[in-house]
């Protein structure tokens, strides 16, 4: 699965599963950007065929509902929906 990287300071391994059209996903991206942390993301709606399936399989490992956005922190914690407080807590910020 190909991820886009947004540069910033390293606060942990942050992966965001998003949709390019979703308002809460956009808010999550902005929140991470404002925190200034490095993160990677994928807009699943811009993928096709096998790539999309692969991304959805990966997403469902973290969130069986398959809903967006999901932020995975340090390959351990999944935060479903836009939850800035939870993101900060999990990053220890």
């Amino acid at each position: 699965m190909e991820l886009e990287r947004v540069k910033g300071r390293k606060a942990g391994d942050i992966v965001l599963f998003a949709l390019s059209t979703c308002g809460w996903c956009k808010k999550t991206k902005k929140f991470l950007q404002d925190l200034g942390v490095e993160y990677e993301y994928v807009n699943v709606d811009l993928l096709e065929g096998e790539e999309e399936e692969e991304a959805m399989d990966e997403l469902k490992r973290w969130n069986p509902d398959g809903s967006f956005p999901v932020v995975v922190i340090n390959n351990m914690h999944a935060i479903v929906g836009y939850d800035p407080d939870e993101i900060k807590e999990r990053l220890g910020l």
């Binding site: 949709l19 390019s20 059209t21 979703c22 308002g23 809460w24 996903c25 956009k26 808010k27 699943v44 709606d45 811009l46 993928l47 096709e48 790539e51 959805m56 069986p64 509902d65 398959g66 809903s67 967006f68 479903v80 929906g81 836009y82 939850d83």
Partner: protein, 172 residues
């Protein structure tokens, strides 16, 4: 990578936003008063309309098959129960009075849409069978707003929330 849809032009978003706001208010619903957020969602609806031919929910991954996506064509089947429980639809496009006026904060809410397998089992009874069950006419229910009518076939459009005929289910 799928080619990103052409982003709608600002004037297209404006026009769609103004129309949606007017229709929404005339049906007794409210759009989120955070205009920037709401316009972004309207842009998402226009992108999905371009991609699929219908306004699939911008916050859910649509399949591109209208039959499978019918429950998440905006306004989705989950809007009214979500507004009743949380004050907002899943996307934050439609809200209740309290969120609209700012007295209740807008939050991201859990997904109400059942997983695909369950969705199929729970699929509303969308039959064209016009035999009646205890009533002189079949009763049809709008899956979006709950409007009921007794007639041979559901109307072309819901007279209350304006969704298309295929959003009706057989109620009785």
């Amino acid at each position: 990578m799928k080619k990103a849809a052409n982003p709608p032009r600002p004037e297209e978003i404006d026009a769609a936003y103004i129309t949606l706001k007017r229709e929404t208010e005339s049906a007794g619903y409210l759009l989120n008063a955070d205009e920037e957020f709401t316009r972004d969602l309207v842009a998402g609806l226009l992108i999905n309309e371009q991609r699929f031919g219908y306004r699939a929910c911008p916050c859910r991954l649509a399949s591109g098959n209208r039959d499978q996506d019918r429950d998440i064509i905006c306004p989705c089947d989950y809007r009214d129960p979500d507004i009743a429980e949380y004050g907002t639809c899943y996307c934050g496009l439609y809200v209740n009075e309290a969120v609209f006026s700012g007295s209740q904060p807008l939050r991201s809410i859990p997904e109400r849409r059942p997983p695909a397998a369950q969705r199929f089992l729970n699929a509303p009874h969308r039959t064209t069978d016009t035999r009646t069950v205890g009533f002189p006419l079949p009763v049809w229910r709008c899956t979006v707003c709950g409007y009921l009518c007794g007639r041979e076939h559901p109307p072309e459009k819901c007279p209350i929330c304006k969704v298309s005929r295929d959003r009706f289910e057989r109620f009785a």
